[in-house]
């Protein structure tokens, strides 16, 4: 087990510069004809990558391959980010990288910065970060998995069941996500059937409630999506809620607060300055329009002394889900030039962590 830990550490944290191969995938017509660029993600996974390689899905208007794609080799898959027109300094090309459904069956896979309808994680130590999941996220739906790491995602969609379904996962980490089942008649926003883990620094929106088991639940904000009374074996502390339901989970004795005007989402979060501008930016803490007497109740109110909500801590939510890759943030140039005169462009580049 200790040896395994070391291996995991090395795989997770060795710098990307050491990667053997970085494969470009672009399904736009014409681009795919360029050498070392592939058009099919499924084909790349089947024939063109080895363990440890990185795949970069480039901008496109259409989903890659269409339908389900199974990731059965330990790779990292990076996309472009999402909501690219909402926030500054994202990508010059505002098209996202889309996948209809992604099923991950290989351990240690990392997926980041992709717009995906449905993700099914069926392997251990998978990291799903900075993705926009628009329909469903399932963890361990076909068998037990360990340590799925779900962080910095914007998960919003209409699901008649559970938007996030943790069927069987040990030591799951659900951290710094936005989760909103927009289907008021859905059964759950987040549902834990079997498993254990931590649920930290998330925003729970929508009306379906959450069913948790065997978890530490801290530093979250619950709008109308509450913790169901049927939940068991929880440590619920340092959370905020629009309603008073947290009194059933220790209330103020556990530093859980809710039900007062300052716990309304408009009071806690910035819904005014960024509303209509940025779909994710509007959930940043409202630091400039708070009650002068009480301040923003989410500020520095977390168990770790940091803010409550998804914009907190080292792994704070990243606007537009920009992956840990540098980007061409702006490009202004002529689309034509001449042989002798050439052409010019002004470019803005941005690196990230």
């Amino acid at each position: 087990m200790r040896s395994t830990s070391t291996i995991l550490f090395l795989i997770f944290f060795c710098p990307l510069v050491g990667l053997a191969t970085q494969v470009r995938v672009n399904n736009n017509l014409g681009i795919a004809d360029e050498i070392i660029v592939h058009s099919s993600l499924a084909d790349v996974l089947a024939n063109h990558v080895a363990i440890g390689d990185s795949i970069i899905l480039e901008h496109s208007l259409i989903p890659y391959d269409g339908g389900n794609i199974t990731v059965d080799v330990m790779v990292r898959i990076f996309g472009t980010g999402y909501f690219l027109g909402d926030n500054d300094c994202t990508q010059a090309d505002l098209r996202t990288a889309k996948i209809d459904q992604l099923t991950i069956t290989a351990d240690l896979v990392l997926v980041s910065g992709i717009e995906i309808e449905t993700v099914l994680v069926e392997a251990n130590n998978v990291r799903l970060t900075r993705c926009n999941i628009t329909s469903h996220l399932g963890l361990g739906t076909t068998g037990p998995i360990i340590t799925p790491f779900i962080s910095q995602n914007f998960i919003e969609g209409s699901n008649a069941g559970a938007l996030v379904d943790i069927a069987n996962a040990t030591n799951f980490i659900i951290k710094n996500n936005f989760m909103n089942n927009t289907n008021a008649a859905g059964t759950h926003n987040v549902r834990v059937t079997t498993g254990s883990g931590v649920i930290l620094n998330n925003l729970f929106f929508g009306e379906p409630d959450n069913l948790f088991h065997n978890a530490v639940v801290q530093n979250n904000y619950f709008e109308d999506s509450e913790i169901m009374p049927a939940s068991t074996s929880l440590t619920v502390s340092f959370n905020l809620a629009r309603s008073t339901f947290l009194t059933a989970w220790g209330g103020a004795a556990n530093s859980n607060y809710g039900g007062d005007p300052e716990h309304e989402p408009d009071s806690v979060y910035c819904f005014t300055l960024m509303d209509g501008v940025s779909r994710d930016g509007k959930y940043q803490l409202n630091a400039w329009n708070t009650d002068p007497n009480t301040g923003n109740p989410a500020t520095n109110a977390g168990a770790d002394g940091n803010d409550i909500g998804m914009y907190s801590g080292v792994t704070t939510y990243v606007l537009s889900g920009m992956p840990k890759l540098p980007s061409i943030a702006k490009y202004n140039g002529s689309v034509q030039g001449t042989q002798s005169g050439g052409s010019t462009a002004v470019v803005k580049g941005k690196s990230r962590r």
């Binding site: 014409g30 490009y331 689309v335 001449t338 050439g342 052409s343 010019t344 580049g349 690196s351 990230r352």
Partner: protein, 663 residues
């Protein structure tokens, strides 16, 4: 006097405290362990009578070979606990499967009453009385000149035919019960499983003995199962309630004729079953110890002399992997990748196979073991089997590798061994600076290769932002559609998504030629370059002024004059045309105004066209005399200047040079 009294009391107190307080010592050889000792002997040397030593797992380091660091000579009474053995084989649901693999343990004469439990021992030498050896996996167990030994619930088995799993030298009056004593496969004569040398009075109870030969003396074998076993010598032994399994045709001394044991007669005891088909006895487990477990309802059930089952697998008897009567952590999962969380997710389970004791609490610690009972409490639901989850607080844990330890305690106060595992707290990743951008121009046929990319370094070094002006050199590119591929690279060499945009390369525009000349001709085109030239010196690409046509030789009358331009490249443009009417030098006044009447109005019209006085102004007007009216006076004035007399004299009438005709 009082001083002596108090000194005596102090000594007594110290003695009482030293004898009533039993310390616990941990031994673990992992480099990052929090255990105080990393070799067994050091812990033994530091221990006092009655102390407990936990030998923690080490097998992961040495590929299941016995480890010299876990050897020790013990010469004081101690209790030594290990984590069990063959766990991976017997407990597929456990992730805590490592063993404490000890090369040699020697119990010296001073170790009387020592307990060894849950260990894997290659060579165990017992030279002290009243040793309690239970729940161990021992390749060779040798007792020398000892009394009162208790060998219980062990797997005593060796893969080496030359080894004698259980050898008793001049050791008497002990108990050997609920053990599996065997070679791993049937052996040839001379390969012993048990050898009693000058030893007697041993109670062999509820054992399985298999695959080899036995020399026994004055001992009782009851409730035992014998598999492929030959009693080579069994002086004064008694056999009661035993089962002899049908097996290989091994000759025994029970049969003077040397027939196979399935034909032998056991006459020395009672209730002995022979010729038992093993398939009707054993449950079919395939592990090294589990293969001897009988199934419910077999010939072994309920026929032991104590009313239980024959063999070691009874309630309170042998437990697979040596895990019974003692709490064990069976699973410990952590998230190796903490991703900067202040909580480390930990999921655990633990078990105690006991009819009287249950697990009631747990505790954990990070990096520094505060001692049993001093860790962070973990609340759990008490029971024989417990499982749960907690978030270990690592908010103040510094960057780097760390150890977390977890253990449980039973209601009776027994602590499990401490299961440790490592995790890493990562440094906060730095924001890499933007190093450069690179670009490639590729055609639609596909030639983009960033190995040959043009690179522009970020002049704003150290910043995560960079601003670049790319000047694309398109020389050498044929006109057509291309693609520009641009991407950024950070200081660690990580490249991002490629921005791709089309680029249309156009032909170069020629230099704008200047207008060099006109040429004109009348009526008939003499060909390019053959017309009458009108040279334009210093002209640019545009000429906007008057030109003068020379019509010498052109007969009076209606004609067409043609004009075309020529540029500095010698190219001629489209030929333009204009109708003209050529008259003779002598004025011929006709129906100048085209009203079909020859009258004075024609004269005046003529003057409008030609009545130009050569005064340098080049103004032509019919109002020759400039009196504001166009009339006959203008005609007369004109004639005064240009009229000719009969002598052919043109000009003014003498004496009237300054005259004008006015009214």
């Amino acid at each position: 006097m009082n001083m002596y009294k108090y000194t005596f009391l102090l000594v007594v107190g110290l003695l009482i405290s030293s004898t009533s307080w039993s310390a616990i010592h941990r031994v673990n050889i992992h480099p990052n362990t929090t255990a105080l000792y990393q070799d067994f002997q050091s812990a033994v040397d530091a221990a006092f009578d009655g102390d407990t030593i936990y030998l923690e797992a080490n097998s992961q380091f040495i590929s299941e070979t016995f480890f010299a660091t876990y050897s020790a000579t013990i010469d004081i009474p101690l209790v030594v606990f290990g984590p069990g053995y063959l766990i991976a084989d017997n407990k597929p649901g456990y992730n805590v499967v490592d063993e404490a693999l000890c090369s040699t343990i020697n119990l010296g004469p001073g170790a009387a009453g020592t307990t060894l439990r849950g260990l894997s021992i290659n060579d165990l030498q017992v030279n002290s009385d009243f040793a309690q050896i239970d729940h161990n996996f021992i390749s060779q167990l040798e007792l020398n000149n000892v009394l009162g030994y208790d060998i219980e619930q062990n797997l005593i088995s060796s893969p080496n035919p030359a080894d004698i799993p259980l050898l008793l030298n001049n050791s008497n009056n002990g108990n050997v019960s609920f053990n599996i004593i065997a070679h791993e496969s049937p052996q040839a004569p001379g390969q012993y499983v048990v050898f009693q040398n000058l030893s007697s009075g041993t109670d062999f109870n509820h054992n399985v003995m298999a695959n080899g030969f036995v020399v026994a003396e004055a001992s009782l074998f009851h409730n035992c199962i014998f598999v492929d076993l030959t009693f080579e010598d069994f002086d004064l032994c008694n056999f009661n309630n035993d089962i002899f399994v049908t097996g290989a045709p091994v000759a025994t001394d029970f049969d003077a004729e040397g027939n196979p044991n399935d034909q032998m007669q056991i006459l020395l005891g009672s209730n002995v079953q022979t010729e038992i088909d093993p398939s009707l006895l054993f449950a079919g487990n395939v592990t090294l110890d589990g293969q001897y477990e009988t199934y419910p309802g077999s010939f072994a059930d309920g026929v032991a002399d104590d009313g239980t089952n024959i063999g070691p697998f009874n309630f309170g008897g042998y437990g697979l992997s040596g895990q019974s009567d003692f709490p064990f952590v069976t699973n410990l999962f952590i998230a190796e990748n903490t991703e900067f969380s202040y909580l480390l997710p930990v999921t655990y389970s633990a078990v105690i196979d006991s009819g009287t004791d249950i697990i009631i609490e747990g505790e954990y610690f990070v990096d520094n073991d505060p001692g049993f009972g001093g860790g962070v409490p973990v609340t759990l639901t008490p029971g024989n089997t417990v499982d749960g989850f907690f978030g270990a607080n690592i908010a103040t844990t510094l960057t780097g590798a760390h150890v977390i330890g977890f253990r449980v305690r039973t209601q009776s106060g027994l602590w499990s061994g401490t299961e440790e595992t490592t995790f890493v707290v990562d440094p906060i990743p730095p924001l890499p600076s933007l190093a450069s951008i690179s670009y490639v121009i590729s055609d639609v046929a596909g030639s983009a290769d960033f190995a040959t990319a043009n690179i522009l370094d970020n002049q704003d070094g150290g910043s995560d932002l960079g601003f670049f002006t790319i000047t694309y050199d398109l020389s050498g590119y044929a006109p057509g559609l291309y693609y520009l591929s641009v991407r950024a690279k950070d200081e660690f060499g990580v490249e991002g998504t490629t921005y791709v945009t089309p680029m249309l390369v156009l032909e170069d525009q020629e230099e704008l030629p200047t207008l060099s000349a006109f040429e004109y001709f009348v009526d008939v085109d003499p060909g390019y370059g053959e017309g009458n030239p009108i040279l334009l010196s210093g002209a640019e690409d545009l000429f906007d002024s008057d030109v003068q046509f020379e019509l010498t030789g052109v007969p009076p009358g209606q004609h067409t004059i043609y004009l075309r331009a020529k540029d500095s490249n010698g190219a001629y443009g489209v030929t333009q045309q204009q109708d003209i009417y050529v008259v003779t030098d002598q004025f011929s006044i006709l129906d100048q105004n085209n009203d079909c009447v020859i009258d004075i109005l024609d004269l005046l019209a003529f003057l409008g066209d030609y009545g130009c006085i050569d005064d340098g102004t080049n103004n032509c007007s019919a109002d020759v005399n400039s009196d504001g009216a166009t009339d006959i006076l203008d005609i007369l004035t004109f004639l005064m200047f240009y009229g000719a007399d009969c002598q052919g004299t043109f000009g003014l009438v003498p004496g009237q040079e300054s005259s004008t005709f006015t009214e």
